[in-house]
């Protein structure tokens, strides 16, 4: 864990205010930032110290990590030896902080950068990468996308450095991301590239590494350049597994449809209005009052196994309607199942265009119908103003499959992955809002 800042073993005097600037790396550090007078100066091995710049601005916010404090990353102890406050040359409002870290025993350098509460741990690499003209860097592990390109300006610096940080202002920096990783290229000219590897850190990791409270770290705002999307660690497994399960549901449903839907009854009926025995006062045959027509009873048929039944109705209709309430009656137990088919079909020509509405067929699915002999009772109702006979067909299929079961299973399976997918998509969209190279624009 972290240790409090220790007294630095060496010191140089600021050439401007004579303040004693203490430092840790007596062998390599040659550039210093004075916290008293905001002067950045060089202290060469030989010769007099040289003032390089006096910063006009000083960060007013609380610095999350103190100079000299130590923290541990991956079991290695690092000390904060330098602090910079930087901005982009073209966008001065884009400001971030960089903490120079020095390995306590090897002296290796790393950097911690924080922008709007998003932390990156950066280390140099000897690898040389070759970006494509489209702004991609392909590596064995991942494909990195160009996210940002800028030249930095140093607004303020404090502590010790082994290079002239002001010279960085002539660099062009390109950032390529593959969250949670980032590749950073510093280019002086075409033949002078330096590459760095960066990794996103959660604020909690920084707080634990340096033993500071979360409240001391800057508030996180928006989405970081290399901040992994929600569910990053589990997403490949979640997406693959949920899609496989969805595919299993679809294939099972298809199999059940092929295995089932055995037609056990298929017959045509004709329903006609009953005729009265005596003619009316005009001598014409009279219709019975109301729309009800005589009950029709089907022949017996056998349902081979307990399961769902589909009852399909089709009627020959033209500008007419018929309602077919029916009961499916078990001839052994008397158990009844009931449903209604509402059929209507109208068509015509209006303003030279033909039209039609309604359906000549209807379908009902009856659950858990036990095996056994059955018959159907129909109780037709039709337009009382029309005396024509109506022909209709009833088809019964055993071992029917409910499509709604498959839909329900798919919805349940894909609800959570869909929610995570939407969050990830929103996250990615938000991430690229800060980029000039967004694939979304």
């Amino acid at each position: 864990m972290s240790q409090p800042a220790q007294f630095a073993p060496a010191a140089v005097k600021c050439p401007h205010c004579a303040h004693e600037v203490r430092y840790y790396d007596a062998l390599h550090s040659a550039f210093f930032g004075c916290p008293e007078c905001q002067v950045f100066f060089e202290y060469p091995e030989t010769g007099a110290p040289k003032q390089l710049r006096r910063f006009k601005e000083t960060p007013r916010h609380t610095r999350p990590l103190a100079l000299g404090s130590t923290g541990q990353f991956e079991g290695e102890t690092y000390r904060v030896t330098g602090y910079q406050w930087r901005c982009e040359a073209k966008s001065p409002n884009y400001r971030w902080e960089e903490f120079q870290l020095r390995h306590e025993t090897t002296g290796a350098n790393r950097q911690l950068a924080v922008f709007q509460g998003h932390w990156l741990l950066i280390e140099p690499t000897d690898e040389q990468y070759r970006p494509t003209p489209g702004g991609h860097v392909e590596t064995m592990e991942a494909t990195y996308q160009l996210y940002n390109r800028y030249s930095p300006r140093v607004l303020y610096a404090e502590g010790e450095f082994d290079w002239n940080i002001l010279a960085d202002e002539s660099l062009t920096i390109s950032e390529y991301i593959s969250p949670p990783l980032m590749l950073v290229r510093e280019r002086q000219n075409k033949n002078n590239n330096h590459w760095f590897r960066a990794r996103h850190l959660e604020p909690r990791e920084v707080a634990e590494a340096f033993g500071v409270t979360m409240s001391r770290l800057p508030y996180r705002n928006g989405v970081g350049a290399a901040q992994p999307a929600p569910g990053h660690a589990n997403w490949p497994q979640l997406a693959t597994f949920s899609l496989l399960m969805a595919l299993a549901v679809v294939l099972t449903h298809v199999y059940l449809m092929m295995w089932g839907n055995e037609t056990v009854f298929n017959r045509e009926f004709v329903t006609a209005p009953p005729m009265a025995a005596a003619p009316d006062s005009l001598g014409q045959p009279a219709l019975t009052s109301g729309a009800e027509r005589p009950v029709l009873v089907s022949p017996s048929f056998t349902v081979p196994g307990t399961g769902a039944l589909t009852v399909k109705l089709w009627a020959s209709l033209n500008n007419n309607w018929v309602e077919l309430p029916y009961a499916l009656v078990n001839e052994q137990t008397g158990q009844q199942f009931a449903a209604t088919g509402n059929l209507e079909y109208y068509s015509g020509v209006e303003d030279g265009e033909s039209w039609h509405e309604g359906n000549q067929d209807a379908e009902a699915l009856l659950s858990q119908v036990p095996a056994g002999p059955y018959h159907l009772n129909f109780y037709p109702v039709a337009d009382p103003g029309k005396s024509e006979a109506i022909q209709f067909r009833a088809t019964v299929q055993a071992r029917a499959t409910a499509g709604s079961n498959a839909v329900l299973a798919l919805v349940l399976l894909l609800l959570y992955p869909g929610f995570i997918y939407a969050r990830r998509a929103f996250h990615e969209s938000s991430r690229w809002e800060n980029s000039d190279f967004s694939p979304y624009s």
């Binding site: 597994f241 309430p325 009961a327 858990q368 109780y379």
Partner: protein, 63 residues
Amino acid sequence: MDWFRSLWKIRFYALFAVLVYGSFVWAGLSGQRLLGDDNEASPNLNGTGRAHGSGGRALYFHK
């Protein structure tokens, strides 16, 4: 095998998904409809669930 081991990371979702799939298969094989039912009669074993007389229908009315 590694892929199956990696499913440990999503074990709760995997368990839920297997339960959903199992319920779906059970409903399909046993003729259950999980959402709604077109059956308008209360199932019974003595045939008195509806008031159908031989003279016609008593429960249905058109618009």
